[in-house]
């Protein structure tokens, strides 16, 4: 009886659809290829408009959780809209600091994402490269006047 109820609940849940669209990319982050590749593998599914939606992202209730993660991820940090941050250098610096800090501490990408996407795992060398790139970019930006970042985006 319980199994039947669960099966029916899961079946009904499929009618609650979520948005799996990818909006346009207005201004993607500009970074050296080795950094960009690592960020795309490890971060872009949740933190960009270039999300890869696997087949199970259409199956409820898993789809609800994945949609929430992507929606929240894009709100907090979106590499596809990087130009929105660069018009305030302080914001860009802070975003990059958080990226470096969370990647260095292995808090990001989350363990459950890494478990399902082994290719998203970053090596120690990749984490160090990203951290170094962030530090180099900030010291470069600091030498310029004004509040608008010169780091730019493509």
């Amino acid at each position: 009886m319980i199994l039947w109820s669960a099966a029916i609940a899961i079946l009904v849940a499929q009618f609650v659809r979520v948005d799996r669209s990818n909006p346009a990319v207005p201004g993607d982050l500009s970074a050296p290829p080795v950094v960009k590749d690592a960020l795309e593998r490890a971060c872009y599914d949740c933190h960009s408009n270039q999300t890869r939606w696997p087949w199970y992202s259409a199956v409820a209730p898993l789809s609800w959780g994945i949609h929430y993660e992507v929606d929240e991820g894009r709100r907090r940090l979106n590499f596809s809209s990087w130009t929105d941050y660069t018009s305030d250098r302080g914001t860009e610096d802070q975003k990059l600091d958080e990226v470096a800090s969370l990647i260095a501490s292995e808090a990001m990408p989350p363990w459950y994402y890494r478990a399902m996407h082994p290719g998203a795992r970053l090596t120690a060398a990749e984490r160090a490269t990203i951290t170094r790139w962030v530090a180099d970019g900030k010291s470069s930006n600091a030498s310029r006047a004004g509040g608008v970042s010169e780091r730019g985006a493509r």
Binding site: S81, D84, Y85, D88, G90, T91, G147
Partner: protein, 114 residues
């Protein structure tokens, strides 16, 4: 033209220029937020639409705050006693919520562009 008339003309033209120039409005003391004691003032800040603004954010509390707005794409930590400048682009008319992320959203307000 007498000296008094000349001075009055210059003053009138200066006032007209200040009113007509939105940047002048944006640069005055109305473009600021102050966080203190678990609150923010003002909770609703009016800014001119379609005009870049330098927003001053002051933290008068004892602990750091994080000024954040998803809609404005801005995120800045402000240490106790510090005032920072947040550059806002020309905003279309609308309402843009912001919050102190360190307060887990308890302290919040909005910027109204019109």
């Amino acid at each position: 033209m007498s000296l008094k008339t000349t001075a009055a003309s210059i003053l009138s033209l200066t006032l007209l220029a200040a009113i007509a120039n939105p940047s002048a409005r944006a640069a005055d003391d109305s473009s600021q937020l102050r966080f203190h004691g678990g609150a923010v003032e003002p909770t609703s800040l009016m800014l001119p639409a379609n005009t870049p603004v330098k927003l001053r954010v002051t933290n008068s509390a004892d602990a750091a705050i994080e000024f954040e707005s998803f809609e404005l794409h801005r995120e800045r930590v402000v240490q106790p006693g510090q005032t920072i400048t947040v550059y806002l682009p020309a905003l279309p008319r609308g309402t843009y919520p912001f919050f102190d992320d360190f307060s887990h959203g308890a302290v919040k307000g909005e910027i109204v562009s019109r």
